[in-house]
């Protein structure tokens, strides 16, 4: 039954989604293109966080550090050592992932609270290094004139070009993550989320898997960081602080902790909200803090997931059986 109704519906939805994404730089004014680029970059990090929090129940308050590592390593390698930006991105992702894997082994064995604080502390230590290690990162001044990403003579030097580059990566990350979730590994992750003891009883190496997901989330964040560096062509310590880690947390929570595609929704919602509140001083903190509390209290699986579930409930009541 190749073209069942459901399948056709899915294909149409995907086609529509892709068309919308492709059209954005042409339809809206250029400001929104740059917003969409940032959303794309942040979504990559958020997906990693969703995987980590939603599937292994581990919270990370230091994703901004991995994001920063990706950005700085890319910047240093491509600017100071003249490496190809693509190679730099690959190296950054590998180094950041390996770092997370090594740190993750002892850290992820900790009980929830210690883990949260450990990631928080890690994030802050790395931020301090960004800020103070002048010899490496140029400290507060930051690194400038970072080269563009390019394929041959085609350089990604305008917003419009960069938009497609970023969203290529974003969609790639989303698809890869979705593949992982619906695979043997995904089943193992869902098992861990449900009952670690039962997961172990069927041969799943729980600690190992948790560390791997942690490392994966770091790799995603690093890729996002590299993309950021080659977009702005300038990195400074400021964006990679604890506050950003909390923003990422918020995006993940709004999107739904175990929802891959919800990450787009969460990131977009928070990005626009943040933008709207930007001029109003500390209103952003107040609103964000409030939303964070409200969602976890009333919709612990995330806003997007709850909306989805509500929608599905309504369809069930209308007579459509569960697919």
């Amino acid at each position: 039954m190749k073209f069942s109704r459901l399948r056709l519906g899915k294909i149409l939805a995907i086609g529509l989604g892709l068309s919308v994404i492709a059209a954005i730089p042409w339809v809206f004014n250029p400001y929104y293109t740059s917003v969409a680029i940032v959303i794309g970059i942040n979504t990559i990090i958020t997906v990693g966080l969703c995987l980590l929090m939603g599937y292994t129940g581990q919270v990370s308050l230091g994703q901004a550090a991995f994001y920063g590592m990706g950005a700085y390593i890319s910047a240093i390698l491509s600017r100071r050592l003249g490496l190809s930006p693509w190679l730099a991105m690959g190296v950054a992702a590998t180094v950041t992932g390996a770092f997370a894997y090594i740190i993750g082994r002892p850290v992820l064995r900790l009980r929830g609270n210690y883990l949260a604080m450990a990631t928080l502390g890690l994030g802050i230590i790395i931020y301090i290094v960004f800020r103070e290690a002048d010899w490496l990162t140029e400290g507060q001044r930051g690194i400038v004139s970072i080269p563009y990403l390019s394929i041959g003579s085609f350089a990604f030097d305008t917003d419009r070009k960069y938009y497609y580059l970023v969203w290529f990566f974003t969609l790639l990350v989303l698809i890869v993550s979705q593949n992982i979730v619906s695979s043997r590994t995904g089943r193992a992750l869902r098992s861990i989320r449900d009952s670690e003891m039962a997961a172990e009883s069927i041969g799943i190496n729980v600690p190992e898997l948790k560390v791997k997901v942690f490392a994966l989330s770091a790799v995603y964040a690093s890729i996002a960081g590299s993309l950021y560096a080659h977009y702005l062509t300038y990195v400074s310590p400021q964006p990679f602080d604890f506050l950003f880690s909390v923003h990422l947390l918020l995006m993940a929570v709004v999107g739904g902790l175990a929802s891959i595609w919800g990450a787009i929704f969460g990131t977009t919602a928070i990005s626009f909200l943040g933008d709207a509140l930007h001029g109003f001083g500390d209103l952003e903190s107040i609103v964000f803090g409030f939303i964070l509390m409200a969602i976890i209290i009333f919709m612990p699986r995330g806003l997007w997931v709850h909306l989805l579930m509500a929608y599905r409930d309504r369809r069930e009541k209308a007579g459509k059986v569960r697919p």
Binding site: V59, L110, A116, D282, F290, M293
Partner: protein, 291 residues
């Protein structure tokens, strides 16, 4: 010369350590009674100083009265936090509770920033600013206040825990919540009380140190983190350990900042924390089966 410099650092360390100790104590109180780590703990210190400034400066109340009112206000906010955020998620996972308190801390910080702006605010020293000379080091009299007040309240707290019926009830909850409930202790009330006390302790710390280090809307995060580090190193349910950890952290930090590098000051506490985690990792791992 070297002695006086050491004394300077040491005193600075003890002073800051007092605040860490108070925050750490607050962490252990809440944790031992409710099992929750309150990420917003640092904010109570911030609010203590900020509100004291507000009552004193803006409402022109007498300093002692302003301080008292501040403590009461912050205590009330602690109750609010417990009520609003925590009790409505009794069945929530650890992750959820952590996120709630993070949200709360952000929310509080935002309100403080909105109401009082981002600049550091001064509170007048309790007994003047003429430095006391001790072995060649110049010590602010406020420092004495910090140490004295901290020690007094810790003693009071300790007495409360060990000598009063209320204290016994709290300790019972800390040991075994369910058993305490069965025996007739009002666990909900104890939970409220623990949040109130932690808030009060934090506020006291914030007020007493504000004249020295100034208070501003964003000191909560680092204080909370370092207080947690101190509490964790001393044993999350161990009051004396937490206090000792707080002082130790303050001293190590001050010495490190003075002798090694002040730019990396914040990193010192965190590195210590990591070392501690790595060394004690075994005993902090998650036990899957709960009796």
């Amino acid at each position: 010369m070297a002695v006086s410099q050491f004394i300077q650092y040491f005193v600075s360390g003890i002073t800051q350590g007092s605040v860490y100790a108070l925050v750490a104590l607050g962490f252990t109180v809440i944790y031992s009674v409710t099992g929750i780590i309150n990420f917003a703990q640092g904010e109570s210190v911030m609010l203590g100083g900020m509100l004291a400034y507000f009552y004193f400066h803006t409402l022109s109340l007498a300093l002692p009265f302003a301080c008292l009112l501040s403590v009461l206000s912050v205590t009330f906010s602690g109750l609010l936090l417990e009520r609003l955020a925590i009790s409505s998620s009794k069945r929530a996972s650890v992750v959820s509770l952590i996120i709630i308190t993070i949200g709360a801390s952000m929310f509080i910080r935002g309100i403080a920033g909105e109401l009082w702006g981002k600049d550091p605010l001064p509170l007048p020293a309790f007994s003047g600013e003429k430095p006391i000379l001790f072995l060649g080091a110049a010590i602010q009299p406020q420092t004495i206040w910090v140490l004295a007040v901290t020690l007094i309240f810790m003693l009071l707290f300790q007495l409360l825990l060990s000598r009063t019926l209320l204290g016994k009830a709290l300790r019972a909850c800390a040991l075994n919540r369910r058993a305490a409930g069965i025996v007739g202790i009002n666990v909900r009330a104890m939970s409220l009380l623990s949040f109130a006390m932690a808030a009060a302790l934090g506020a006291i710390g914030g007020i007493v140190i504000a004249p020295l280090t100034l208070t501003s809307y964003d000191i909560g995060v680092m204080l909370g983190l370092k207080g947690f580090v101190a509490a964790a190193m001393g044993g999350l349910s161990n009051q004396t350990g937490a206090v000792a950890g707080g002082f130790a952290l303050g001293i190590l930090e001050a010495l490190g900042a003075g002798y090694i590098s002040s730019a990396y000051k914040d990193a010192i506490a965190l590195l210590l924390f990591f070392l501690f985690l790595l060394v004690r990792a075994r005993s902090l791992t998650s036990p899957e089966q709960e009796k």
